[in-house]
């Protein structure tokens, strides 16, 4: 083999004779002048792989494997990958031979062009690792049940954990509720470790929190976050607890304290919940610092001389478990909240302890209680979402009330009861058996008669009549809203919020514990209201996820994009577009070249290579074309020029190698044929395509251009399809203005579309080439498919829908990703 280092090495695979419409002799002859071609009939066979290994170990060049698609060859040659050997693929099988007819000359020409495009502009191999060295510490924000459990589990996995809690006590909301569903016991327990018997223990008995690697910071908040994933630097602010750990909880201080705490129920020095370390604290908002308690304390555990302190900790990952809180009063004012006999379920839970005492002496504090479900929730003007836990809370409370006071009349006004969970429906049945009345219909507002008694006018939808209720007590099943500090926390951490103000999760189907920023995780109610059982599950899940993040070798990716300072004007287009917040605008250093039009104090965009996922969205959108992506514009133009040549009217398709790539290569595996003038260009993400690439395709004589990306809103790089849609729109306008009419379509594909994408390409070609007869035939074929596929749903005769082949998609969409 004449191994000149600058000559590309091509491994030509005949795929065991299945590509009979390619003339391999002609192909080899055509490629040979510019490349070293090694031909094989079946490279992925046992002997073939052995030969391949021999070649790759003796030759430093990265060979171009001309055969099956990237997805297919990656799997076939996974043993090579394990040895760190990388192939560049040129897909002449699923992307050429298998999907085109018997015109050998045309198919061979296309195959040669595909191989030449790969040899001339090889893609960058995904060999760069981001963040190999990470700090093995986790910062957990929020000491509720989710946060504490995740912290305890992370400590058991061997990580150092800094657990910070805004309040003086751990346990969060759950520890303050009497009983919780679905077990009807208290919510104060955590799972035990091997060090303790039993399945669970209360916070104050659970030794998991005593692990020396778990630091608990009470009364602490996050002030600022610097650094990046794998090595965050977090500044914490800790307020003094005043009462030191010497406290023996004798309550002497409480007897002399003359102030009440801000919630009004306790003295300003109080004990709330013993979580193993701290028993007592001082409400600094109402304390007058009179010093009486200091004199009274028998063990000198009260020290007012402490002051707030700031500390900086380093952490590899951050977990936000800030939880949620009840909807504020204004969201419930239409239901009379604020009056004495209107309370929320949370308040009822607190009252229940008192009511239990009254029941024990045979007194009944109320004769009739009405609970209103979805109070302020699922209402566009208030909380648009379902808080998921209120139905079960109402059921739990109604059963408890019926147990305490069998003669009490308990009515639940509801629209829908959502009891989705293991064993949850039994609670509904139990409530029915206990004699709770379920009234279908909720009152729009609560009125009061002259004696101050609530009057509810409800439309009973089951009986179709209007009913008037005059209960002693109205209980509002309120929704939950994000915890107070969620917005500020998200700002500090650089993560996004969803439309309801909770922490946005990375992917609703597969990545429920990750935020939009790498290295920042979320669990529990911080990402939306959740029941205790879900919080516990997520806490364990996120612990495993963080362990995985900290102990993995790093994310394998293609090289990050870079900014050319001499062209960057410092506008904020890229930093606004970047889906991973990897781009920041900095003051332009004096020694960096600047374009002429930039003003003196102009900014410069800088890409953080560790946060960059190399999707190319910034490069496609930069107005100055100042960003270099590993798939350069020159390579894209070059591939376009090569592939669009040799055929009269090419149809150019840009597709992302993610979901659309899966659909197209799977379609190729099914031999779903389409015309050979379709020329496909693979991109890392559809966001890489800019209006210029489309214009260039049109200039090269393309009869039509289609862009195929991931399913709508499901781009693997979050916003690539949206960016491509913008660019396509711009390209359409530019082309129309220049008098070129080129059909331009954007498709959202996922792996289920393997059934339809071939037909879709055929139809697009027919329409682009103006072949109306063929297009009409394909459309009617689509109609037939629709009636066949849609026999369950019936009337799907919408002609537009038929054109889009929506009927062939199985209900529920793609479930192929992991």
């Amino acid at each position: 083999m004449s191994a000149a280092a600058d000559r590309p090495l091509v491994l030509l695979c005949e795929c065991a004779g299945t590509m009979d419409n390619i003339d391999f002799d002609a192909l080899e002859a055509r490629l040979s002048p510019a490349a070293d071609v090694v031909r094989g009939t079946h490279w992925c066979s046992r002997q073939g792989q052995a030969g391949l290994l021999e070649i790759m170990e003796s030759d430093a060049r990265r060979p171009v494997f001309a055969g099956c698609s990237r997805d297919f060859s990656d799997r076939r040659f996974h043993k090579l990958h394990a040895r760190g050997l990388r192939l560049e693929t040129a897909d002449i099988r699923e992307g050429c031979s298998w999907v085109h007819g018997g015109d050998t000359a045309t198919v061979t020409d296309k195959a040669a062009r595909i191989v030449e495009a790969s040899t001339a502009w090889p893609g960058a191999p995904a060999d760069t690792l981001a963040r190999e060295n990470k700090v093995d510490t986790v910062l957990v924000i929020g000491g509720g049940v989710s946060g504490t459990q995740a912290a305890a589990e992370l400590t058991q996995m061997g990580h150092q954990v800094e657990l910070i809690e805004r309040r003086p006590f751990l346990g969060g909301r759950a520890a303050r509720i009497g009983t919780v569903f679905p077990t009807n016991d208290c919510g104060q327990c955590l799972p035990t470790t091997d060090a303790q018997a039993g399945t669970r223990k209360c916070f104050h008995r659970n030794v998991a929190i005593d692990d020396p690697n778990l630091h608990v910071w009470r009364r602490t908040t996050v002030e600022s976050v610097a650094g990046g994933p794998g090595d965050f630097e977090i500044t914490l602010k800790r307020l003094p607890n005043i009462v030191t750990s010497d406290c023996i909880n004798c309550s002497s201080c409480e007897t002399v304290c003359s102030e009440t705490a801000s919630d009004g129920s306790q003295k300003a020095i109080f004990a709330e919940f013993y979580d193993g370390r701290v028993v007592r604290t001082v409400d600094l908002d109402t304390c007058t610092f009179c010093g009486e308690c200091v004199k009274e304390c028998p063990v000198d555990a009260i020290d007012f001389t402490q002051s707030p302190e700031r500390t900086t900790v380093r952490a590899g990952a951050v977990l936000t478990a800030v939880g949620c809180e009840p909807a504020p009063a204004p969201l419930l004012s239409h239901l009379g909240y604020g009056k004495d006999n209107v309370v929320t379920q949370t308040e009822l839970a607190e009252m229940m302890d008192d009511w239990t005492a009254q029941a024990s002496i045979g007194r009944q504090p109320a004769d009739e209680v009405v609970m209103i479900q979805c109070a302020g929730s699922r209402d566009r003007r208030r909380l648009p979402y379902c808080s998921r836990i209120c139905c079960m809370i109402a059921l739990k409370h109604s059963i408890r009330l019926k147990q305490l006071f069998p003669s009490m009349k308990v009515t639940i006004c509801y629209l829908e009861l959502r009891t989705a969970g293991v064993g949850y429906e039994n609670w509904y049945l139990a409530a029915r058996r206990a004699g709770v009345e379920f009234l279908r219909g909720t009152p729009p507002h609560v009125q009061f008669d002259e004696s101050g008694r609530p009057v509810l006018e409800v439309e009973d939808m089951t009986a179709s009549l209007k009913r008037t209720l005059r209960p002693d007590l109205v209980v509002l099943s309120h929704g939950m809203v994000p915890a107070q500090e969620t917005g500020r926390m998200a700002d500090v951490l650089g993560v996004e919020l969803d439309e309801d103000g909770f922490i946005e999760i990375l992917d609703r189907k597969n990545r429920a514990t990750e935020t939009t920023r790498e290295g920042v995780f979320v669990c529990g109610s911080a990402a939306g209201p959740k029941a205790l059982v879900e919080c516990n599950t997520e806490a364990s899940a996120v612990a495993a996820e963080i362990h995985n993040f900290l102990s993995s070798a790093g994310r394998r990716m293609t090289p990050a994009s870079t900014v050319r300072a001499e062209a960057c004007v410092g506008c904020d287009v890229c930093s606004t577009m970047c889906p991973f917040n990897a781009i920041t605008l900095v003051e332009r250093p004096a020694d960096v070249p600047r374009p002429a039009e930039v003003k003196d104090d102009g900014k410069l965009a800088v890409i953080d290579p560790e946060a960059c996922h190399a999707c190319g969205i910034c490069a496609a959108n930069c107005p100055e074309m100042a960003i270099d992506h590993n798939l350069s514009d020159e390579a894209l133009y070059g591939r376009l020029r090569l592939l669009a040549g040799g055929v009269e009217k090419p149809v150019v398709g840009f597709f992302c190698k993610e979901c659309a790539g899966a659909a197209i290569s799977l379609s190729g595996l099914r031999h779903d044929a389409y015309p050979a003038n379709v020329r496909l260009i693979e991109l890392p993400c559809l966001g890489r395509v800019s209006a210029l690439h489309i214009v260039e395709a049109a200039r090269l004589g393309a009869a039509g251009v289609f862009l195929a990306g991931c399913a709508e809103g499901r781009c693997q790089f979050r916003t690539g399809d949206a960016s491509a849609a913008e660019q396509a729109k711009l390209a359409g306008e530019l082309l129309a203005e220049a008098g070129l009419s080129v059909p331009l379509e954007l498709w959202n594909l996922c792996a289920v579309d393997r059934e339809s994408v071939g037909r879709r390409i055929r139809l697009f070609c027919a329409q682009a080439e103006g072949d109306e007869a063929a297009a009409a035939m394909l459309l009617s074929e689509g109609d037939l498919m629709d009636t066949k596929a849609g026999n369950g749903t019936g009337a799907e005769a919408d002609p537009e829908a038929a054109g889009r082949f929506v009927g062939t998609r199985p209900q529920g969409g793609c479930r192929g990703c992991q």
């Binding site: 904020d572 003003k599 306008e733 530019l734 129309a736 203005e737």
Partner: protein, 141 residues
């Protein structure tokens, strides 16, 4: 409006393109002076200095502002206080952060839209240019 690098690339490829009314590759910048509070954040965000923050303020801008806007309310208060109609721009002390006249020079604008994203008062609109509906008065030679 100067062409961006991308604009030049398009111009090379599509000789027929006139770029309509805007740069066609960035945004068309529409400033709503009646909403502007003169804070100068657009000037700080602007990469090329197309928007600059002046030292003066034209009181007439306040007096002419619609009555229901924040500026209009201030203008109404001024009208009650003033003894004679103001003549021309007045100088604003440096410690006053807002109510400066923003000078916008479309000749230097690249159409990147940074100002619109920075504006706290929604006074700048960055719209994708309407190609075809070319208001020929604004086409730069």
């Amino acid at each position: 409006m100067p062409l961006t690098n991308r604009g030049h690339e398009v111009a090379d490829r599509l000789p027929g393109a006139t770029f309509g009314s805007g740069s066609a590759l960035g945004c068309e910048i529409v400033r709503h002076d009646e909403l502007c509070i003169g804070c100068g954040r657009c000037a700080a965000a602007c990469p090329t200095g197309a928007s600059t923050r002046g030292d003066t303020f034209d009181v007439n801008q306040l007096l002419d502002a619609p009555a229901e806007s924040r500026r209009g309310a201030l203008g109404a208060a001024m009208r009650r206080l003033q003894r004679r109609a103001p003549s021309g721009p007045i100088e604003v002390p440096t410690r006053v952060a807002t109510y400066r006249t923003i000078v916008y020079d479309s000749e230097r604008c690249l159409g990147c839209g940074a100002c619109a994203r920075a504006c706290p008062a929604d006074a700048i609109e960055a719209a994708a240019p309407e190609v075809g509906a070319a208001s020929s008065a604004k086409v730069t030679s």
